[in-house]
Symmetry: C2
Subunit: 164 residues, 2 copies
DNA sequence: CCTACCGATCGGTAGG
DNA sequence: CCTACCGATCGGTAGG
């Protein structure tokens, strides 16, 4: 809080004229960014397209948000653990909802023979862990543009590394 | 430190008869587990095999260590940021060394036409971010055995999700 | 191995 | 918006 106050140019106690608690700031930032993902997921689900295109659209969604809101993303990946009840439970439910909907797309892709017969949870886990670490990648030097990164990730994640 | 003391069954100050500082515990745990990865990498590099087999062996390495040393792995992924100098620099170098050697295998696989012509850094990033989050996956209910998980991850990461 | 305790940090309140 | 300050926490030391 003292750091925030310094950045804003006031004394620490003055912050409390604008906010209720440190928790409140964290919760608000987290819910905002979580909303963007949920909204994006809704748009993808309404797409009239193959499941491959939907998963690729979700890859694009993560790349875009990770690029534009680097800092908030890092909250989403790490700092949500600092939330206290009841916000923690609320957040975990939203997150679970997102994962469930992602998983459903993968399962349908497998059923309809678009995707390989791999363990759907493992596929989801593999996709999401890469997508959730993107903000770290963007912390480094050789920055790829949003378009390049999206293209490369689609190739790597959808098609794997092996030739054939 | 008070939590550790309670778990061990002594008062907090008594810990300092056995250790020098909190930092020392963290550094020691981190260096131990980092060593296991560096040793594993050395063995993989000495394999007389295709680059595909080497990457698959590294997947196996991560799955095994993540399964057996869940707690230490979480230090490696998250808590190393708490290290102070000079140990921090030392750790970052070891980590960089590991990534460089992993990257070299990927690049050689691409050169020798075993792997697709994808951006090597993106491929490494994608593989490593999945492998580094494994300990979270193991925190959940439906646990796959080491063998099953290794098999599934090889398929998902090497071959991707798409049929064909 | 313990008791006693320190100094720094931190989220936050009182009162103006 | 500020000054003054509290109570809890935490890594660690002194001294036995």
């Amino acid at each position: 809080m003292r750091d925030i106050a310094k950045a804003v140019g006031v004394e620490a106690p003055s912050l409390y004229n604008h906010i209720k608690s440190k928790q409140e700031i964290l919760a608000e930032l987290l819910m905002d960014i979580a909303d963007e993902f949920i909204t994006g997921m809704g748009e993808v689900e309404r797409m009239d397209a193959k499941h491959q295109a939907k998963v690729e659209a979700l890859i694009g969604l993560h790349v875009r948000i990770s690029f534009i809101k680097r800092d908030a993303i890092s909250l989403l990946t790490h700092d949500w653990r600092q939330l206290k009840e009841p916000t923690l439970t609320e957040f975990v439910q939203i997150r679970q909802d997102y994962e469930d909907r992602f998983l459903r797309i993968i399962k349908m892709g497998i059923e309809e023979d678009e995707f390989k017969d791999i363990h759907p949870d493992v596929a989801l886990f593999s996709l999401l862990s890469t997508l959730r670490w993107l903000h770290v990648r963007y912390g480094k030097k050789d920055i790829l543009s949003i378009e390049e990164m999206t293209l490369q990730l689609k190739r790597a994640l959808m098609g794997g590394v092996l030739k054939n």
